[in-house]
Amino acid sequence: MIEIEGLTKRFGPVTAVAGLSLSVAKGEVLGFLGPNGAGKSTTMKMITGFLTPDAGRASICGHDIETDTTAAQALIGYLPEGAPAYGDMTVRQFLAFIAEVRGFSGAEAKARVTAVVEKTDLGPVLEQPIETLSKGFKRRVGLAQAILHDPPVLIMDEPTDGLDPNQKHSVRGLIQAMAAEKAIIISTHLLEEVDAICTRAVIIDRGGVVADGTPAELLARSRYHNAVTLTLAENDAEGVVAKLKALGGVAQVERKLIGNAVRLTAFPKSGSLLIEQVSQLASRENWTLKELYAEPGRLDEVFRAITTSDAARAKAARA
């Protein structure tokens, strides 16, 4: 439903997005990841028709955003970065305005507003001017505005930024409930969010895609993927490390002191599953363990490994 080909945007000497191509199908929730300034927001602004790309094209359900802008925009629900809204309007006035712009009138418009207020829990603040609302409510007003017309394509720039854990949970629930019927792109800094709601994660860096796969596939790229961690008393550590190293599948063992205990992490040689070997070894040797678990992999570590620091990026962009 969303097709992006070779999208490019330059701001003066800086190339913000460099030939980005993606396609998102119905039912996908694409998590758009990347360091600050990687080009996430710029890409979203081009997909939604706010910025004009310098090269490349984007289309929504077959409508090109540059040549068929209004038709394409009618199919998009967009939550811009920071969830901007008219501060002097009340929540009800603002949503009524959006409903009118989206082509609803009379009872239909009222029903749409009521439904979306229900979904985003905005009932208690309906008659308050938006500028008096807390950050969490403001974000939900932005969300309500984006989903009011039940769009087939939903693009959200950091939908849970600034929300508390409860609010995050309910927004994620809302997104998941809509996911089957829509093509959704969300950008986020929160790696746990990708794990929680995304069916696909795309990491971009310096304006281009550097990783594209399911969250599980990304996790598999982690050094920690299938590693095994054990916590035990310091005195036992030497013997255990020696035994672990003797196991066929173990490539390396790292240790970390925590109080008077030691946390050992055994990294596997590529492809081998360690947890079974290690747990059998532990029961055979009768080790006294406080913890024993297999690592699924660490997204933040994958993220750091394939993206660059902002200073390096700024330098590269200007080169």
Binding site: G49, L51, T70, Q73, I76, Y78, P80, Y86, M89
Partner: protein, 255 residues
């Protein structure tokens, strides 16, 4: 004919929500009331104290209308300065321009709302019209034409101000630059400007500059002659700056 009607209806559908929201926003804050009160007070002050409305002993509103272009010079940019600069500053520009509305309709809707608002302020000067009718027998045709002319002057300045507001996120800059540009359009018929051109420029250029003067065209209308040429001047001025407004918004979306 039907096709044309359909087109008008479709396009009105785009402009109307923008117009309504923008128009209501004036009254959501004290802005509307402050502006209207100041507008009426200064109009009154200039008419009675500077223009000596009573002492003249003539039952017409020429002294009242004579000051309009000069008052608008400061009051209209105060309205237009926030038109786009505020959207840019608060980030609502991104929301507005990603809604399924063509850019021209957004520009037109916002502009018409501002113009309608100044129209209301102008209409609220009606007590002076009642006064002059009570005191004597003025030519109400001339007064009607003058009101139309005054409304057109405000419209011209608003279009200039809207275009300039679109180029910045700073309302103060928008105000100052708008006043300066409107000033040029106000005085271009005065000797102050024309003398500069007369010294060296061909007659045609001097005439062209003089014909850009808002005051010249406004004065022609306040004589009681609603000449098509004067109306075309104002409408072209408005159309030109609204077209520029569309281009400026489109070019400056990114930053």
């Amino acid at each position: 004919m039907n096709a044309v009607m359909n087109k008008v209806v479709t396009n009105a559908k785009y402009v109307l929500p923008i117009f309504k929201r923008e128009f209501a926003s004036y009254f959501a804050t004290p802005l509307a009331y402050v502006f209207i009160v100041i507008f009426l007070l200064t109009m009154g002050a200039f008419t009675f104290y500077v223009g000596h409305f009573y002492e003249n002993g003539i039952a017409d509103l020429s002294v009242f209308f004579a000051y309009h272009p000069w008052l608008y010079l400061f009051l209209v940019p105060a309205i237009s300065m926030r038109l786009w600069a505020d959207e840019r500053r608060t980030g609502t520009m991104e929301l507005l321009l990603t809604l399924p509305i063509p850019l021209w309709a957004t520009v037109l809707g916002k502009y018409l709302a501002a113009w309608a608002f100044t129209g209301i302020a102008l209409a609220l000067t009606f007590p002076i019209w009642l006064t002059v009718n009570y005191l004597g027998e003025p030519d109400n045709g001339v007064i009607f034409a003058s009101y139309i002319g005054s409304f057109l002057v405000a419209g011209g300045y608003l279009a200039i101000g809207a275009c300039i507001s679109a180029s910045t996120s700073n309302q103060v800059i928008a105000f100052v630059v708008s006043v300066a540009v409107c000033f040029l359009f106000t005085v271009s018929g005065a000797p102050l400007v024309l003398d500069v051109f007369q010294a060296w420029a061909p007659m045609a250029l001097t005439d062209a500059v003089a014909s850009l003067s808002v005051v010249t065209h406004f004065n022609a209308i306040t004589q009681g002659v609603l000449d098509l040429r004067d109306i075309v001047f104002f409408l072209s001025l408005i159309a030109l700056f609204l077209a520029a407004n569309i281009v400026v918004v489109d070019l400056k979306k990114g930053g």
